[in-house]
Amino acid sequence: ALLWNRPNLSPELIEELEETLILADCGVQTSSLIITRLKERYENERDVPSCDILKAVILEILQKAYAPLNTASFKPFVMMVLGVNGVGKTTTIAKMANRLTDQGRHVILIAGDTFRAAAIEQLQIWADSINVKLIKHQIGSDPSAVVFDGIQAARTRGTDCVIVDTAGRLHTKKNLVAELEKMKKVMGREIQGAPHETLLVLDATTGQNAIQQAREFHQKIGLTGIALTKLDGTAKGGIIISIANELSIPVKLIGIGEGIDDLRDFDPHLFVDALFE
């Protein structure tokens, strides 16, 4: 346990805090920013335990970026899910579709990963398990064509929510990022304002590269939110603090397991508490 329940800021405590923040993947710069703000506020709040001030400093950064996921703001609400390879996009989409279906909403899934081995089969199994329609083409087909088909289907069926799965791709691959831009254009042409949510999926075990992923995808595609997965492991996901601070992109959802129900709304308070557990 940290020495911080006493209201003082010894150098030992500062070093311990820095270690905790860096081990949580907050990164050198963001950890330093947080500690600087802690020191500034501590000057005016000497009788407040430093742990409370620290949590407040981090909460302030998260809350500036905070925004909930509101899928009722348009019909059909179109959500595009993207991110690097293996982070949990497909599984998170299944979880979201399940939640919406439980809420009585009509959902259509679009198999936008037409590249990876058995990607379509994987999503089909999930779709069948929750009784949701999946629009798909053959492996190797143009993902923009699947998007187009899926949106037509959503329109004719009066669907509430369309979720587009995409193939994992590194933000450094220009042609693959261009493919996402094309898919986004198709959505926007067919449905006003689509995609209404562009969700970046980040793996909580990722280090500082997550910030570069967010920067690149945000610049090229435009992100409205983040889903942070695999928080049921030991990684803390501190990279989202840097992302909130630098890019103001909010975390909206978290993944806490491999099951269909392992999805939660992002709660900044719980997140900050978990950083120091």
């Binding site: 590249f115 058995a118 793996d203 990684a235």
Partner: protein, 292 residues
């Protein structure tokens, strides 16, 4: 960059008098930041800096016209030595078949890398068998089968099986009988803190006796690399590491952390999604990449 920063600091320090272990701290602070930003684990960085601080005030630095570059050279060499110094390969056992078991966290690249290893061994003139022992993830078996078919390599899968250990035992019997070599087992991704699933790996290992247990780790892994690798090594026992997604721009400090905490060598890196994108691991190239 780091080189320029160190050069600036060290020239100024020398201008103020002798370089000592005390004042070199400012230069080492920059090295520390560079390593942390590269995702090397906090505690691994601490130990690393302590180890190089005496070398950093050695003769070569004190006498050099470019002390900053000398410090980088020392850091670079220390990184190379830490990561094993030279390339390390998978050894063929005296009695075939070689049995390889892929383990690691969810989504790290095990299934794809299993396919890459099969591709490599096939090109080497061998007859590998891929074993679809992930009975959990939707379409995991299909995924491995698609990869195997694309290579013209045999794949053992049993859609009715619900236990990984059983699949491995059945596959091994067939491989032995038909002279297939190596046997490459793909397992389900799992958390190092999932007691039941970690135990499953221990049980499979007891029954199948793999020669090479490979920890497949994502190059973009952050501070958690140490905890994860330590748990896999202590609970299951690993022989080597493959670092995937090295075609991205992650600095890959996890490689140093994992090596440091397990003592096991990184043998290969994954540099893309296609099955021919597996390369041998070179410690000197990794050292340059980590330093940025």
């Amino acid at each position: 960059n780091l080189s320029d920063k160190l050069q600036g600091i060290l020239k100024r320090l020398r201008g103020q008098g002798k370089l000592t272990e005390k004042n070199i701290g400012e230069a080492l602070k920059e090295v520390r930041i560079a390593l942390l930003e590269a995702d090397v684990n906090y505690k691994v960085v601490k130990g690393f800096i302590e180890r190089i601080s005496s070398k950093a005030v050695g003769e070569e630095v004190l006498k050099s016209l470019t002390p900053g570059q000398q410090v980088i050279k020392i850091v670079h060499q220390e990184l190379i030595d830490l990561m094993g110094g030279h390339q390390s390969k998978i050894q063929m056992p005296p009695n075939p078949p070689l049995v390889i078991m892929m383990v690691g966290l969810q989504g790290s690249g095990k299934t794809t890398t299993a396919g890459k290893l099969a591709s490599m061994f096939k090109k080497d003139g061998r007859r590998p068998m891929l074993v679809a022992a992930d009975v959990q993830r939707p379409a995991a078996r299909d995924q491995l089968k698609v990869l195997a078919d694309s290579l013209g390599v045999d794949c053992f899968l049993d859609h009715s099986a619900d236990r990984a250990e059983r699949v491995c035992r059945d596959a091994f019997k067939i491989a032995e009988k038909n002279g297939m070599n190596p046997v490459i087992i793909d397992t389900a991704g799992r958390l190092h803190v999932d007691k039941e699933l970690m135990d499953e790996l221990v049980q499979i290992k007891k029954k199948i006796l793999p020669h090479e247990v490979i920890l497949v780790a994502d190059a973009m892994t952050g501070q958690d690399a140490v905890t994860m690798a330590q748990e896999f090594d202590q609970k299951v026992g690993i022989d080597s590491i493959i670092l995937t997604k090295m075609d991205g721009d992650a600095r890959g400090g996890a490689a140093l952390s994992i090596r440091e905490v397990t003592g096991k060598p990184v043998k290969f890196i994954g540099t893309g999604e296609k099955l021919d994108l597996l390369e041998p691991f070179f410690p000197d190239r990794m050292a340059s990449r980590i330093l940025g």
